[in-house]
């Protein structure tokens, strides 16, 4: 453990820009490989490569330190390379509709996992209802669009407000209950929402809502392909870019809250509630706030999902969805934005690509969680200490 400011690396073997570009290109290539590989063998091989990389970092933490230091040093370059990769990404999957679909779902799950991370990762509040707030967002938008002709852009804030109100409601018990009891309250909330969606007539009951109209932006319908440079990106690309923007917003929110006294207050509550109170932190308010922020972002994800698939039913928002989101946070790394996104991608893609496991989804998730709690209890990418400019 170095006594230095974490932003100042001890030594760098390779020039930072090279490390940054290499890391991002290799990461993108691995993801592309996972998405396009057909045979289980190839997929397992790719996983083995990733596992080896993590094993190397586990044995020699300096490798990880150096990579992180390189990214901190060449922040702007990293951002630009990342942006370019994200923009050109659909061109690599033009023929692969299924792969593109998986990426969009993974992006939306990344948003959900980041939403939950405010609670689980930052403040250690076990919330098993992210799937429910996701559903509330999706249903609010779908109902407004179908019944009142709201556009996607109008439903986004509306759904966020409705879901945030539910988030506040769900957060109130957190003032009186903790840990496993609070977990039970959120599980109950999730089940109540699911049951209501299943049984109310105006939500379409178990059949859900069909025919959510396709959104458009400046006259460009999201049903039509995107034509650029003589390439023709399938209509899906519209939703890909929309999901990317949403994830960008989620990352920005996570970063800004983490780098404020609010993120510090959440971390203090996670570490020791009583000590946090004694520092003047209004623990009840910060817990409710975590629920509200979670619901706000989850509603955005729900809205985009509803418009993307144009058909939603209660089964999209079950308890299992909440558990999956929770797993993504645990696997990726509590309170580490990048880690949480990696967790979301891995746990979206692997069960889909490893078809042998597809009948055992819950089993797969459980085994992954148990393995991680034993092997790398703080996730793939654990939280890092904050650094402050110039100190």
């Amino acid at each position: 453990m170095s006594a230095q400011n974490p932003s100042v690396p001890d030594n760098l073997a390779l020039p930072a820009p090279l490390v940054v570009i290499a890391a991002q290109v290799i990461g993108a290539a691995l993801l592309w490989g996972l998405l396009t590989a057909e045979s289980t063998l190839v997929i397992l091989l790719l996983l083995a490569v990733m596992a080896a990389a993590f094993a190397a970092m586990q044995i020699r933490p300096q490798i990880e330190e150096n990579i992180v230091a390189a990214f901190r040093r060449s922040r702007r370059l990293a951002l630009m390379v990342g942006l370019v990769l994200v923009l050109i990404w659909p061109f690599f999957l033009i023929k692969n509709t299924y792969g593109m679909h998986l990426v969009i779902v993974a992006l939306l799950y990344s948003v959900l996992a980041l939403a939950l991370n405010f609670q689980l990762g930052s403040a250690n509040i076990p919330n098993f209802a992210t799937g429910a707030t996701y559903g509330i967002g999706a249903y609010t938008s779908a109902l407004l669009a179908i019944n009142y002709g709201f556009s996607l852009w109008a439903t986004l804030p509306a759904a966020a407000i409705v879901a945030t109100a539910f988030g506040f409601l769900l957060g109130i018990p957190s003032m009186r209950t903790k840990d496993s009891y609070l977990a039970l309250v959120t599980i109950a909330f999730g089940i109540v929402i699911h049951q209501m969606l299943n049984n109310l007539s105006w939500t379409g009951g178990p059949n859900g809502l069909v025919g959510i109209p396709a959104p458009s932006l400046f006259g460009h319908s999201f049903m039509s392909p995107i034509n650029v440079f003589g390439y023709r990106l399938p209509a899906q690309a519209n939703f890909y870019y929309l999901s990317v923007v949403l994830l960008g917003l989620a990352i920005l929110s996570a970063k800004r809250l983490h780098e404020s006294r609010i993120g510090l207050a959440w971390n203090a509550i996670r570490a020791d509630e009583l000590a946090a109170k004694s520092q003047g932190i209004n623990v009840a308010w910060y817990k409710i706030l975590a629920f509200a922020v979670d619901a706000f972002l989850a509603a955005f994800a729900g809205t985009v999902y509803a418009f993307y698939v144009s058909y939603i039913s209660p089964d999209n928002f079950t308890f299992l969805v909440s558990v999956t989101i929770m797993t993504m946070v645990i696997v990726g790394g509590m309170d580490n934005t990048f880690g949480v996104i990696v967790g979301a991608f891995l746990l979206t893609l692997l069960p889909e690509k490893l078809r042998i496991f597809s009948d055992y989804r819950l089993l797969f998730v459980s085994v992954v969680v148990i393995l991680f709690l034993i092997l790398r209890p703080r996730g793939l990418f654990p939280q890092r200490q904050r650094s402050y400019g110039g100190h």
Binding site: L264, K277, S278, V293
Partner: protein, 264 residues
């Protein structure tokens, strides 16, 4: 100059079922004063701190800070009114950096809300960076070694450093009153001497600041405070200069009683 006390306890008490842990304690703490609380184990000293800081709700009496009744306010509100504290068994934010621990101590006097943090991030970043600078200064004054290690997690510190860090965190809130619960436990003679020097220096730097310190180390109690309060079975049994108080029969009795129990 106002002669009103900084903190007044009026008939403050709490019972846990049949046990009266703190019994009708009356107390006036002046501004700019160091007061030590002594008394045998289980006398109710820590419980008194928990009553003052709002962690326990009293079953009788009042807590008055600068003329304002703060009895049974929520702990975070009392902290914001200017009472900081440390705990008998230190409670740090273990997985956060030493520096972050001190910065969190400034929570009550910083302002950024969610919307500012999300929409005007430069304001919250600037606020936090100013906090980081000040936290670094506070750490450096309390312990240059802690300052040098400020990016390490607090959880790895040894006992004496944990106590110092808790004091730094308490100072960070710019309190009017600091409650220290057995600050010298886990410290050797040199550390304790350093602790006393730190407290005196902080007192000199901050006019009006008062300390209320629960202590067992009789050398510290003899040297440091302006006043001593003796508590036994939840009651205040003596108050005044340590040299006089220690000779009182009822004080000797309280300590002898404990010795007898310990030797039994």
């Amino acid at each position: 100059m106002t002669k009103a006390p900084l903190l007044s306890l009026r008939g403050l008490g709490i019972r846990f079922g049949g046990l009266v842990a703190v019994d009708e304690v009356n107390l006036d703490l002046p501004h700019g004063h160091i007061t030590c609380i002594i008394g045998p184990n289980g006398a109710g000293k820590s419980t008194l701190f928990n009553l003052i800081t709002g962690i326990y709700k009293p079953t009788s009496g009042q807590v008055v800070l600068n003329g304002e009744t703060i009895t049974a306010l929520a702990p975070h509100k009392i902290a914001a009114k200017g009472i900081a504290r440390t705990f008998q068994s230190s409670r740090l934010f273990e997985d956060l950096s030493i520096l972050d621990n001190v910065i969190i101590g400034m929570h009550a006097r910083t302002k950024t809300g969610v919307l500012t943090a999300l929409l005007l991030p430069w304001i919250s970043r600037r606020e936090l960076e100013a906090c980081a600078t000040e936290a670094g200064d506070i750490l450096n004054r309390i312990s240059p070694e802690l300052y040098a290690r400020r990016y390490e997690p607090a959880g790895i510190l040894p006992q004496a450093d944990r106590r110092r860090l808790e004091i730094a965190r308490a100072l960070a809130s710019h309190p009017k009153l600091i409650l220290l619960d057995e600050p010298s436990s886990g410290m050797d003679d040199r550390d304790t001497a350093g602790l006393m020097a730190d407290i005196r220096r902080v007192m000199a730097d901050t006019p009006g600041l008062s300390f209320l310190i629960i202590e067992h180390d009789m050398r510290l109690v003899a040297e440091l405070p302006d006043d001593v309060i003796v508590i036994d079975y939840g009651k205040k049994i003596a108050e005044g200069d340590f040299a006089e108080v220690r000779l009182l029969p009822r004080v000797q009795q309280a300590y002898l009683g404990q010795k007898a129990v310990e030797n039994a």
